[in-house]
Amino acid sequence: MRSLYSPRRTWLHAVPAWLKLLALSLAGTALVLIDDVPAMGVVTIVVLALFISLRTAAWQQWKTLRSLLIAASLIAAFHWLTGHAALGIASGLRIMAAAMLALMLTVSTRFDDLLAVLETLLSPLRRFGVPTERIALAIGLMLRFAENFLSQWQRLDDAYRVRTGRSGSWRLLAPLAIRALQSAERVADALAARLGA
């Protein structure tokens, strides 16, 4: 499982993760507060310029941006048809600006760096007995098992295809779910034996 992080270095890669997250949350708040179309237009153009400055690293995420562009256009068109063109344009621009800012963070920040910021932010919860250090373990386990289940799914599908000549699709969900539960029980036993219940 590869993160959406792009290893192509850009100027934004050098900025620490916490600073980018802080900037993103401030910018997100600002976007919600602006509802005037010209101001929103200026903000969107600035964000677009920043986005373009990341070059290839950002445009690799064009697929995500395209689906948001479609949604934003539909919303703008809907409001225009019902006679609130300004509201529609502002909403559409806000969605695009917010998405570009978020994408910039995602492509320029390593998964581990973001995880470290999250763990630091949550660390006060440790006093109340919340095991925040287990987040990393849980994510690691999840990714390992996602790979495992995908290959189990493919194996089940291959077996079904050999028997019937067709893809198993939804018929394989029950066996997959049962296998998942059986693995879950085995891993739970193994973890309980190593880490204590």
């Binding site: 990714l143 996602a146 029950a174």
Partner: protein, 186 residues
């Protein structure tokens, strides 16, 4: 994530939801194309119970927010939380919890009763609660009125009803295939 045992169920079910997003869309016998991730949400609620279902979906959303492409179509990163459909992601979290809570109330059901209980729980968690938050999200992000947002998502309801039925069948098969799996465990 209180005990080690729960941790493994939580991680494993988050993986199941992620894998459901990787499986290409499935065409149902009568031509309704569906993606499976919301089925994963219902299934987690029914099989894991409210508390662990909540943590499972939370774990998935945290991993997505940190940049892993775990949503259907390889989407991920914080941008998915700025999309007009972001309300549905919050709906996943609370829908799975609601689904688990309902299933707990009817954990004693067997046979056809179990099918009905799982179907009802999926509808409450996977449609009523999920769409309530999805619609609220659309109202906030796209400035639609309640009626407009409701109409916009209406087209997805038939597909989701199919998923509820599929979820009920799955829960039924799992309970039959794994008699040791208990639905009333916390």
């Amino acid at each position: 994530m209180t005990s080690t045992r729960s941790l493994s169920y939580i991680a494993l079910f988050a993986a199941v939801i992620a894998v459901f997003g990787l499986i290409p869309k499935i065409d149902m016998p009568f031509g309704v194309p569906i993606t499976l991730q919301s089925l994963g949400i219902m299934l987690v609620g029914c099989l894991l119970g409210p508390k662990r279902a909540f943590y499972t979906v939370l774990l998935l959303l945290v991993a997505v927010a940190l940049g892993l492409p775990l949503l259907a179509g390889g989407r991920g990163g914080l941008a998915v939380f700025t999309a007009p459909s972001a309300g549905f992601l919050l709906g996943w979290l609370l829908g799975a919890t609601a689904c688990g809570w309902c299933m707990r109330r009817m954990a004693g059901a067997t046979g056809k009763g179990l099918l009905a209980a799982a179907f009802l729980s999926s509808i409450i968690g996977g449609i009523v609660v999920m769409y309530a938050f999805g619609i609220l999200g659309l109202m906030a992000m796209a400035h639609l009125t309640f009626a407009q947002a409701g109409l916009a998502v209406l087209v997805f309801i038939p597909g989701d009803l199919v998923k509820c039925a599929l979820c009920a069948l799955l829960v039924h098969s799992v309970v039959r295939g794994m008699p040791s799996w208990r639905l009333d465990r916390d």
